[in-house]
Amino acid sequence: MLKPEKMTKVVVVGTKDVLEQTIETLHRMNLFHIADYDESESGFKIGKPHTIASKLSERLVTLRSIANQLGLSEKSSIKGRVSAKELPSVIESKLSHLEEEVSSRQDAIRVAETELKTQQDLEDAIKPLATLPLSLEDYTGYESIRVFVGFIDNAIEDAIRAETSQYELYTGSFDGRGTIALAVPVEKEAEITKVLQDESTFVELKPPKLEGSPQSLLDGIKNKKEELSTRLTGLESERERIKTEYAEFILSSEEYLTIETQKAEAPLKFATSENSFVAEGWIPIDRYDDLGRRLSESTGGKIYVSKLEVDEEEEKHVPIALSNPKAAKPFELLVNTFSTPKYKEIDPSLILFITFPLFYGLMLGDIGYGVLLIFLSWIIMSKVKSGGLHELCIILLYSAFSTIFFGIIYGEVFGLPLFNIVHHGVVEEYGILAINGPHIGMLHLPVHRFAAVQPLLAMTFVVGILHVTLGLLIGFRNVGVEHGVKHAVLEKLCWLLILFGGIMAIVPAMPAIMGSATMNTQDPIFAGGIVLVIVGLILLVKGEGPIAIMEIPTLLSNVFSYARILAIGLSSAGIALAVNTICKDVLFTQGGVFFAVGILVLIIGHTINLLLGIIGPGLHSLRLQYVEFFTKFYEGGGTEYDPFGFIRKYTEE
């Protein structure tokens, strides 16, 4: 919690005759993050992969290409699991047969597709010619005659007659354009070409070298195309049949081969001598005993396992396994998207677990949208059982609950008031519940967002200051742990002093700045604030040099940045209000058709607003974390913990 799992570096040493059992055990435990061996370090050599590795990976490539051709993806699921023990013999007998079956089908499909394309091209070429009363053989094969064929939009006969009286012209029309076939003596070719070129709409066609009337050819092509399509459909359904028949085999063997290849290639990461091997790696510290016990069991005690001392340099390479309570797990996704934390850093997932939904709810704050979001995330979660999308939906679910909570405080249901709107003791508009908002302590519900802009704006600044302060405090701790307290004071405490000194100085000065009162410079709070700022500045300049003064406006903009919480909330509530007003006051009062239009506007308007309500608050809540919060303490750049092993989906041992 708040810190990555504690890891320890482990060395495993054994003789080569137990290498296989060691790898098998390590793989099964899915625990050991192998640290690659660097050959330059000592006399040991990088190990050689097992002899069957190349054979395995060859088969894996074949299998993956088959899966690719059949369109089988890793997301496909099969019933039950296949026993890994039986797979090698099954792969042996089935794979080559399957490969041949699939590739022959694939080739046949490709041939049919090419043929279909050729016929289509031919059809496209002949179709315009079918509008002219000539057979295809009439276009070619002359010595003393030149034939022009093409599209033309304007009449051209007069221009041709002006050049020569010896011509034959046929015209037709195709697809809204004119078609011509024009035969002239060869000696007139140049002149006629010029006439046609001057007529800019002329596009020449090349008649295919075939015989017969275009129409009969077209009929032939049509029949052929039909036949090809039938063949193609047949082949595709056959491919589909193979896919369903072999899906279980392909998915399970791919998994099996992946696992076996991993194991066979593992020695590449080990250091080996002639008769022994050394493997170094990282494991969570509380699993160390378990690892030692399991390894010595599987090798009959012929193995040496020991913890290694980790120096400061090596600490940078500790793989990071985030460890959070189950509820906060999905937020690790957001942290890892930004960057994996370093080993000694605070892992902020747990803080995001609280602040992300909090900001989201503060922004969207509407009971109606919250309920819809719960349904939406629930539907997606039931369809997508794992992976990033599933985790995002859990985050959305938390955010939806927070949205409902703040929806009650704001008193909004799809932009409509939940409680009565009371003005000077008179009910102006009845809410959905038709009761006045209750008093909870100091808070008088509802806090209407359009009416309470000023206090809400002030609240966003308070939220901002708290969030930034939390960030700086964590930053103080991070720097303190990594570089010592002195650095922490110079790098982080100075900012805290400037922040709080600034607040102490500005808040009492506010009335004077607004021009409504004179400034009392003797105010002890104001004076104290100024002193804090000055001390902070001195520390800052001492720590990071005078250039750091340039950074001070950033602190201001960081705090102001939280005003977006209000701004986005107002815009979302504004759109909802606009949609409701259009429907209620304009469309519904007209009745009849307008009533139906009103319903439509209501549905479309709120759907759009809901989509905006997912994107806007989601992104901006995240941005407040990444930009305003993380920059105060987070460096990241750790390596993710990736243990040697595999989580089986389709096979079992």
Partner: protein, 75 residues
């Protein structure tokens, strides 16, 4: 009359504050954003840094927003 004019001017000022800063930030983010996406295409690990850089000009809009909110609701 004078009051109405003042209210109108305040509204125009508030609009300008948000609108102009929005345009400014958009111009700034345009080139940073395309560069950041280019880097991310090479190495998706730069997402965090890319996002940080891209949203830096946005603080100007926030200043504009705060100014306009103050104009509208405080004056």
């Amino acid at each position: 009359m004078v009051e109405a004019e003042a209210a109108g001017l305040i509204a125009i000022g508030a609009g300008l504050a948000v609108g102009l800063t929005g345009i400014g930030a958009a111009i700034g983010e345009q080139s940073i954003g395309s560069a950041a996406i280019g880097v991310m295409a090479e190495d998706p690990g730069f997402f965090g840094k890319g996002l940080l850089m891209t949203v830096i000009p946005e603080s100007i809009v926030i200043f504009g927003l705060v100014v306009s909110l103050i104009l509208l609701f405080v004056f």
